[in-house]
Symmetry: D2
């Protein structure tokens, strides 16, 4: 059984999913597409030479009986309504982050999914599929560094567009750390603080860059995250977990080492799209495989989307108040519990 | 159009190809299998839940009209006859190394393929698909280190089985460097010398281990390769090219760095099967894609198989004589020329 | 002219200074020693075979006309009185940290030195003499990473004795970062915050370990320092400065890389005394050389000792209040200004 | 007792020794100098402000009763006669490499020293004092990598002057590996082979550069050394010993790691004089200390000088014949035996 996909949103990210499902992955097929810009949808069909119906909107695409699963790659504010419609129709959903732009809407999705009675939704937090993070999680679960006490993470980006604003450092950028770090240490967040260092002159005036976030977890782990989106030199993701008996650090991206011109050097990635390129393939292949084998997606859940929404809400508040802001989650429903066990989510 | 595969040989390697074509790659399908051990073939069909006919031998499998391409993963001495039969039948061939166990037989394949009139055969030299080697080749082609003058390569393996003999250091182990290095520097070999250092006491008495090979190319590049197959500590592949203005080195396999127990350390792979796992996927996907798009496979050719055979013959002679042995290739036929241009084979 | 030293305090550190001046450095000589434990002083004289008078106390040693300079290596609370007595007598002073245990007493020393009219005192902040920190300072001064915006520093120690208490994380441990970081970026501190993560179970119950400090400077640079004194695995000092166009990181201690037992590893230092061993030699040689050539010591000044005292006072307050505490320094006197220029203090 | 030095040869190297003994080391003093260029000798005295007599030649300097030890830093061909004269006079000798330009002359020195009855001579093979090589030797002696089987070494230099000729790759460059490697593995050499790769176009026409040497030891260890003296990018010394259970590699020179301009990089040394700068201090301090404590120098001996001479003679022959040339040493006299034990020479 091939999983038949409808793609909502045929911008840059939507097209990479069409490409990978069509040309690189196994067991999936694009049968329908839509985009607010109909020409974009049509030209995607042509570009990849796929046999897919072009729909005028998400609702009609979801209603197509040939569509087993939808990929939501429209702009963020439109995600939640598409997700809710797909759940209503009993279709599987792969939704790019954010699941919803507010905690309330995320919770509505969580409740709709529970009401439906089985998991349908996977959120596009691809870092969990990165080999480096998986190896780190494995080591932590196997107690190789003892109980985690601190994390120091870094999220640097070469530069940002004019549209990038101070709050996007949380909702667009930090959100990847928000998801992957609680998964990594299997803990829930408690509070977040934002500190604004001296601003770089390399960013536009409206933007506070860099920013430093301090997040505390329920178990007392203290996380520092440097977010620096105009660092000039490249896309640079770092993560070190400090445990009771040792530390573990995300590997550098492997590139050949060159000795030349009075230096030993290796290139650093410039484009974020290249950093987790294998992980993007793996998350979609896992979505397909788990649905085919188990009848539901096993990746990051709606509840993970809800956690991200609550935490980023608190992060944006913290940017404004300069105070430590609480991250208050509802109790995790039984429905989402087994899925979040460290073992299951290792995807080893 | 899905490329329909027949698999000859359902041992360990054959099964990994069944697995990847069935479960991970796009555009291929297993429709037939055979093995000298019929039970092995049958159980492979069951294990992967595929709809494939089980044939009594390679000839009958090749004759199946539904088979577009064959994967040859039987034991080495059987390869050449299967390749020749497939060419005779006009079927595409993906043949694991060696293409043939002698230079003569390799040449017979080359001639049969030329007679057929278009390329049908790809040899399973997967290292060319490794990201690290590709980045190195790219840098060399772009003249980043100037003209190559020397290469220092290392091929270490944790341990070998009882059946591993001194000549296998050439025909089974060094053969990977033999293929990838001439591709890397776009040159042909001229001579090979074998030097036997002090033997490790960790290998069986019949085996000379380690061994050092010195290979000179037509352009005068000098290559040293350490082959050490019972190094005890892991699977360790290294390659540094020294050019006129700089050097470039294959990246280490990325693994998390742990600080613990008075050391900074990172794990090193134990099993060779894990080292080029992504490259194995890529070589088969490339085989499928190039056939679908261009009508012939674009990977390592029969001529590359012939080069490997001639060079490993000379290597085995060098082990025996202790002298520098010449590597004498026929002139490269026009048929194989365009394919071997550095640009085309970059697969960037 | 040989600089004749009197050593006050012949414990572990005092003895290493006797050793280096006697056996490794040029231009100095030990002519007098004292210790609260007279037997310790006598046995130090014997152990190093030096011709040095043993004095009953610091005052009588300072009064010896043969003594040009004193090294103060007694316990911390005794430092200030010895320093003041030496200044009174016009003797040069090399004082181990802390210069004084309170900001007030440090200021008294500063004032006594200014009243005397020329610099006499160097404080034992040896990290400024470490090759790695010097290279970093050089790069920053040369604008290689642009204006500094953030620093992430780590100070880890294998384990602490029973006597080590929570406030000592500031006054004994963090104090080294306090000194070296303001020198590195040529800035003054503004505030400090202390955050207490989950405690390691590997430390005694009375101790909060690890601790995280967040320090802001007058220019707005934000510094995070992890202090983890029972990290179990070794002595581990890290420092990365993040600038507008690049980052620079203190080099790892160079040790041979071993491939063995399924890992690539290198030893990490266990004993803090080994980490800056070359820097200890260089700071004393610089003390001797600058006095011989210029008539006054050129290393870290009394004012640097005062900065450290004020900052560590605020750090201890921050541990108690959980709030951001201000670091309020007097205006830097003209007397100490030229000495603190980034160029002069490079000691290149 | 201060060791009183006479310096023969006040060129660049002679002056660095005057500087270190005068300004950085303990227990030595320059009391006499000479140089074939008398003005050079006089200006050295002035430059370092030392109280040293200027002699017209080596013989008169050696005859000065105030001279305890001579440093020979004249040009190579003059070394042997000065050494022999100093032995004759019973003076200690620190002789820069080479001890003599022929094996015969080296042997004459060895015999003169034995006749005198106690060791007087230390040869300036400073690499044995480098922290990295010492740590490697320590690890090998402690059996951490098992019995050594192979070594791969690299000696790269940015560029050479017009006067540098093909044979100097052995007598001036490889000679450092010749000394340090037999010490490292506590073995004697058996044969040497020279291989000439494609020549770099960055060197002058008269020079074969790079060169590859293959040296076999009595125990059967096989050593490859790349000598590349116009590599353009810097001074780069590498050494990896491959043992039965693991490998160990000389650490890179520690320099700060910078992330900037799309790369992670660290500077590589340009000038060979900076690479072993600490080792130069340590070798002279050790010369002084061992003479003061034991009555004879404990560093590299005349016999080590003889080994280097015999081996480099064979190396130059190998460059010409293209064949494996034997390295034939006399039996090591009892006189030099205890000194060469791995333990004693660790200088830990």
């Amino acid at each position: 059984m091939t999983l038949r996909f409808g793609v909502i949103g045929t911008g840059a990210i939507g097209k990479t999913h069409i490409d990978r499902i069509t040309n690189r992955l196994s067991g999936g097929e694009i049968v329908a597409v839509t985009d607010i810009n109909q020409n974009s949808a049509k030209s995607a069909v042509e570009e990849y030479g796929i046999q897919a119906k072009v729909y005028p909107d998400d609702k009609s695409l979801i209603a197509d009986e040939n569509v087993d699963a939808v990929i939501i790659a429209s702009w963020g504010p439109a995600h939640a309504e598409s997700v809710l419609a797909a759940i209503e129709a009993g279709k599987y959903v792969f939704c790019e982050k954010p699941l919803a732009t507010t905690a309330e809407k995320s919770l509505e999705i969580v409740e709709a999914e529970m009401k439906f009675g089985k998991p349908l939704v996977q959120v596009g937090f691809m870092r969990r599929y990165d080999q480096g993070y998986k190896q780190m999680k494995n080591a932590i679960v196997n107690n190789e560094i003892g109980e985690p006490l601190m994390i120091h993470a870094v999220h640097r980006n070469q530069s940002t567009s004019e549209n990038y604003t101070t709050d996007m450092a949380v909702v667009d950028t930090l959100i990847h750390e928000i998801d992957v770090l609680h998964w990594l240490i299997n803990d829930d967040y408690k509070s977040i603080q934002a500190i604004f260092p001296k601003r770089t002159t390399k960013a536009l005036d409206h933007l506070q860059d860099p920013q430093l976030f301090i997040i505390e977890t329920q178990r007392g782990i203290v996380i520092t995250v440097e977010v620096f989106t105009n660092c000039q030199f490249g896309y640079d993701i770092q993560c070190e977990v400090i445990g009771e008996i040792g530390t573990i650090k995300l590997p550098e991206v492997p590139t050949p080492v060159v000795r030349k011109n009075a230096a030993i050097s290796q290139p650093i990635l410039q484009d974020w799209k290249d950093r987790f390129i294998v992980a993007y393939d793996l998350e979609i292949q896992h979505f397909i495989d788990s649905i085919r084998k188990k009848g539901y997606p096993e990746g990051p859940t709606s509840w993970d989307g809800y956690i991200a929404a609550v935490t980023s809400d608190a992060g944006v508040r913290a940017q404004k108040t300069g105070q430590k802001e609480l991250i208050e989650l509802k109790a995790r429903p039984e429905f989402y519990k087994s899925k979040n066990s460290p073992i299951q989510n290792l995807m080893s």
